[in-house]
């Protein structure tokens, strides 16, 4: 333990503690900007670049950054002296002098860490004036917009992309005042190895990184009388959207969300969860098929588009192991424009499928050429993130918290508990195992439902599940850095599994790049995941194959799971991509 004094308060803290942590343990607030410590997902940005958290330490010539200075025995620290406060103000004024003053029309207005900091420090004038850095916006990708003019060079995106996700898209370019965070050779984002997981957007303190905004296109479609616009909502949206309207973290607002979408003017409000059940039918069939026919193992889940792009860039030699199943919302689109169109007697050309996703990579996925068959056209027309949906609800003047609970529309609105947990790490594989267990263990009247060994927050988890006397070895990874570790072992033949679930975002889709900002608090993600498991338990049906509408779909249209038509509509293929 180290004894120290902060603002005349004595405290003893463990060795290695930073001044910032020590101050917080005493209830002393020190403003920060670049600092971000989400150690549960190994996202620790301690680069000390912004110099906002400077404090005075007796005996030291200069002010010290509290976020990255570890305490020393007998240290005497002052966090609120005139010198420290003036320095902080100057730093923030400098940042503002190089920042567009368009807060009123900025994507991050009222949700911006720089804005909050300026407010907190009571900045009323910017004493330092001069030209700002000018840079072109990068709108090349379908998912992420980069605006270097709003960048404060906190380097969080770099840490997230390079160290946590190990994708390595970002790095500082140029020097001095011209320094920007950019891609290798200044390539447009679309041409990089970016997976569009959007985790950089999740941690960006300003509007330097934002999602591509597709809401105008959706409004356009809704207002077109010749279109039948169908909304489908991913599981993780219903446990996070409420946060945008001030509801407690972890509140399940499924019914209000459905009501809101109807009031916005969507012709049909349906559920991606339905398609998640469909995915399980296909994926569990594929798993059993591979096991029984000595096929390639392990099978890797393919629901996560960022993860799919990651393996295409980083592990092209392993492209034969992911499941060929399309992701649930793409399956939804394929079914909506065939089966549903027929049922409703609507020309598929007139159907517009809008996916509401916690994800930014889904925007890119929807543009993949291999995902639009000749018969059905584009599976999914538009993808909007949870954040965009929240904005659209506001735009529409809907008072969200007062909405009644409503149910999804028939046919493709019914879902089981298995599909709900797709939204959190371990959920997809648990859903698949539930169905596989029931199918393989036909004599067992009550096969196991909850596989709690598959749940948790550890970055890489392994479990062995016994089904009908057969031991299945399962691995789960979330966060692409963890995925890389696991895949490297598989590539090098060091690990053997039957099935692996991988989600690009830490914690899975609840922590997706399109979700409401978690405010740098990882507990938020845990509460969202908890809400998903609660929703699962509240459902009468908790195994995908028990979904009556899925049964009907196979009976009336698809035929056998993993059969010919299913292959045509519900499966896809992967191709190698350059690493740079």
């Amino acid at each position: 333990m180290v004894e120290l004094t902060i603002n005349n308060l004595k405290k003893s803290v463990p060795e290695g503690t930073t001044i910032l942590e020590a101050a917080r343990s005493l209830g002393i607030h020190i403003p920060t900007l670049c600092h971000l410590d989400l150690h549960d997902i190994k996202m620790v940005n301690q680069v000390g670049t912004c110099r906002v958290c400077m404090v005075e330490v007796e005996g030291r010539r200069n002010l010290l950054p509290s976020c990255s200075t570890t305490v020393a025995p007998g240290m005497v620290i002052h966090t609120n002296t005139n010198r420290a406060i003036r320095a902080r103000r100057t730093i923030v004024e400098l940042l503002l002098s190089n920042h567009p003053s368009d807060c009123l029309i900025c994507e991050r207005n009222q949700n911006c860490e720089l804005q909050s900091l300026a407010a907190e420090l009571g900045i009323r004038e910017i004493r330092y004036q001069g030209p700002r850095l000018r840079a072109e916006k990068d709108t090349s990708s379908y998912s992420i917009v980069r605006n270097a003019e709003k960048c404060v060079l906190c380097r969080r995106c770099e840490t997230m992309c390079n160290e946590v996700q190990t994708v390595g898209v970002y790095s500082a370019l140029h020097r001095g005042f011209d320094t920007v965070i950019g891609t290798a050779f200044d390539k447009p984002m679309l041409d990089t190895a970016c997976t569009f997981c959007g985790q950089c957007v999740s941690v960006c303190p300003t509007a330097a990184l934002t999602e591509t905004n597709d809401s105008a296109k959706v409004w356009e479609a809704i207002s077109d009388p010749n279109k039948l616009v169908i909304a489908q909502t991913a599981p993780a949206v219903r446990v996070a959207l409420g946060e945008a309207f001030g509801l407690p973290v972890g509140t399940r607002i499924t019914g209000k969300m459905v009501a809101a979408l109807r009031r916005m003017g969507f012709d049909k409000v349906m559920d991606t969860d339905f398609a998640a059940d469909l995915t399980i039918m296909e994926e569990a069939s594929e798993l059993i098929h591979r096991i029984q026919h000595n096929g390639r193992l392990p099978i890797l889940t393919s629901c996560c588009p960022a993860w799919v792009k990651f393996i295409e860039h980083q592990f092209p030699s392993l492209l034969d192991i992911p499941s060929t199943c399309k992701s649930p919302h793409e399956m939804f689109g394929a079914i909506a424009k065939t089966y549903l169109a027929e049922k409703l007697g609507v020309d598929p050309e007139k159907i517009v499928v809008v996916s509401i996703m916690p994800c930014l990579a889904k925007k890119f996925e929807a543009k993949r050429e291999e995902l639009s068959g000749k018969e059905v056209g584009t599976n999914v027309d538009y993808v909007i993130s949870t954040r965009e949906l929240a904005r659209m609800i506001r735009e529409a003047g809907i008072n969200f918290t007062y909405l009644p609970d409503e149910d999804f529309d028939d046919m493709m609105g019914e879902s089981t508990g298995a599909s709900v947990i797709f939204g959190t790490t371990g959920g997809v594989i648990e859903a698949a195992i539930r169905t596989a267990a029931a199918w393989l263990d036909k004599d067992n009247p009550s096969p196991q439902i909850d596989f709690k060994s598959l749940r948790g927050i550890e970055g890489i988890r392994e479990a062995e599940v016994e089904i009908a006397g057969m031991k299945l070895s399962i691995a789960i990874a979330h966060g692409l850095g963890n995925a890389r570790k696991l895949l490297t072992e598989i590539r090098d033949g060091k690990a053997q599994y039957h099935a692996i679930e991988i989600m690009a975002c830490p914690s899975g889709c609840v922590g997706g790049g399109g979700q409401p900002y978690h405010g740098n608090n990882i507990e938020v993600l845990k509460k969202r995941a908890g809400a998903l498991y609660a929703e699962d338990e509240s459902k009468p049906l908790r195994r995908s194959h028990e979904n009556p509408q899925i049964h009907k779909l196979y009976e009336e249209f698809l035929g056998e799971p993993y059969g010919d038509l299913a292959h045509e509509l519900l499966h896809t293929h992967y191709h190698e991509r350059d690493i740079l």
């Binding site: 301690q46 680069v47 000390g48 670049t49 912004c50 110099r51 906002v52 400077m54 200069n62 002010l63 950054p65 990255s68 570890t70 010198r83 003036r86 320095a87 100057t90 730093i91 400098l94 940042l95 002098s97 190089n98 004493r127 330092y128 004036q129 001069g130 030209p131 404060v152 060079l153 790095s171 500082a172 140029h174 020097r175 001095g176 005042f177 011209d178 320094t179």
Partner: protein, 489 residues
């Protein structure tokens, strides 16, 4: 010609004496004797102790005690440690390290091997500027010859100690002279400083304990080991023992490399060794410490030069650049010159250095263009001090020094620019103009013919006129007029 007796050469002892491309010359002048002495008669602790007692301080800028660095690195436990040499000399006008490398490369190699033995490292890296091709070549030859004779490599002189050296070429970023940026650069990363602590001696190159000193510091080591710390301490002062090499440049008659004992008055360097100011102009200031340093005015010419005294004067030792300024040099312009340099060379990592220096530079620009305002002086001072107080590395923490020191000694000159829109030194082109005196002009046409923008008109043998609208104030006419008919003001 001037007398040079005030010079004492330790670091430069072999420069201009031996053939740097022939190891035999170095050995003949007792080269590698210190290494042998250390290996066969001293324990690593004794080597560290000797360097500590010698009081040798880092010659690269901050003057940190070298022995203390070595001791920390020795105490850090690790399977691998490194010895690094910072040969990324980058201050404008400084070339001490280049001269040592070009004139006596082996003294650096020998010192690094001694350091390796002392701290328990078997690998060394010299980070040298690629823009020093001759230094690079001579280092390569030196390493080759020393390896051939077994003075580097495995089992040196049969002692059982092994030490291997590699060169790494810097690409000319000033910030890579900062030790942690240098290490990032060697590792193939962006040249950006790391947070300290941990210091390199604990966690340096490839996160291993690393001792890093600059060229001139190493150049003293062999002599200290060979002749003892007491010998070294007879030169220089109590707090700053030994000698210091300066690259004397600017308006003195004798520019060149100077090595004097610490404590030598500035006046000795400028007047005796430097031979006074060129063209009988008046001494105005000596700029020491490069972009991190400041300007020392005439009233402090008798100050003995050592680390602390220079800091007391608002300047610093730096790596040893010394630029002498005369009455024609504008002090605002000098600040602007250095700040332009640091703003450009800032790595951009921390806010105060990245944005703050740019804002300071813009103010200096305005002042030298005649658009300065009264509040600018306060802003320069306050912002400058905050940058010093908050920047991440030594570059930013010292970048406002040229402004702050000139404000301290030459505030009036700033005020002239701001309030009277005048540059007293006649050097800020926006604040001066050229005029032809009709009574002196003979119509010789020299000015018109030499004017690069052809803005001077007049018939032969008629009075000429400068078109003030088009004049770029380059001053060519002023210096070419054979009749002194052109005035500046």
């Amino acid at each position: 010609m001037s007398s040079m007796t005030s010079q004492v050469r330790i670091a430069l002892r072999n420069c201009g004496v031996i053939d740097p491309e022939n190891i035999k010359d170095y050995i003949a002048t007792d080269g590698y004797d210190a290494l042998a002495k250390a290996l066969f008669t001293m324990t690593p602790d004794e080597v560290v102790e000797t360097v500590k007692k010698s009081g040798l301080r880092g010659r690269g800028g901050a003057g940190f005690p070298t022995g203390v660095k070595w001791e920390t690195a020795r105490r850090s436990e690790s399977d691998i440690k490194y010895v690094l040499c910072n040969a990324d000399e980058g201050d404008p006008g400084a070339f001490m390290d280049r001269s040592v490398l070009e004139g006596d490369p082996h003294c650096v190699l020998e010192a690094m091997a001694i350091c390796g033995y002392a701290i328990g490292a078997n690998q060394g890296v010299i980070y040298v500027r690629a823009e020093y091709p001759l230094a690079v070549k001579r280092l390569q030859i030196a390493i080759e010859q020393a390896s051939e004779l077994g003075l580097l490599g495995d089992n040196i002189l049969g002692s059982g100690f092994s030490f291997n050296l590699k060169l790494y070429f810097g690409a000319g970023a000033f910030v890579c002279g900062e030790e942690t940026s240098l290490m990032n650069s060697v590792q193939g990363g962006r040249g950006e400083p790391r947070l300290k602590p941990p210091f390199p001696a604990v966690k340096g190159l490839w996160d291993k304990p690393t001792n890093i000193n600059n060229v001139e510091t190493y150049a003293n080591v062999a002599q200290i080991i060979r002749r003892g710390w007491e010998w070294f301490r007879q030169f220089g002062t109590e707090k700053s023992p030994g000698t210091k090499v300066f690259a004397l440049a600017g308006k003195v008659n004798n520019v060149g490399l100077v090595e004097v004992p610490m404590g030598t008055p500035l006046r000795t360097i400028v007047e005796d060794i430097g031979g006074g100011i060129r063209n009988n102009k008046k001494f105005k200031a000596a700029q020491t410490g490069g972009p991190s340093g400041g300007c020392i005015p005439a009233e402090h010419l008798d100050t003995p030069i050592e680390y602390e005294s220079l800091i007391g004067l608002g300047s610093m030792m730096g790596s040893g650049g010394m630029i002498v300024l005369d009455e024609d040099d504008c002090m605002v312009g000098i600040s602007k010159f250095y700040l332009t340099f640091t703003a450009e060379e800032s790595c951009g990592k921390c806010t105060p250095c990245r944005i703050g220096n740019m804002r300071l530079l813009e103010i200096l620009d305005r002042i030298t263009e005649g658009n300065g305002e009264e509040k600018d002086l306060d802003v320069l001072e306050n912002l400058g001090n905050t940058i010093k107080d908050t920047a991440l590395c030594g570059l930013g923490q010292s970048s406002p020094n040229p402004i702050i020191s000139t404000l301290r000694y030459f505030r009036k000159e700033y005020e002239e620019h701001i309030f009277n829109k005048r540059c007293p030194a006649g050097s800020c082109s926006k604040l001066i103009g050229y005029k032809i005196l009709p009574e002196k002009c003979t119509g010789c046409t020299v000015c018109a013919r030499n004017c690069p923008v052809s803005c001077i008109s007049g018939e032969r043998k008629q009075v000429h006129v400068i078109d003030q609208e088009r004049c770029t104030k380059c001053g060519v006419c002023f210096s070419k007029c054979p009749f002194k008919a052109i005035i500046r003001g």
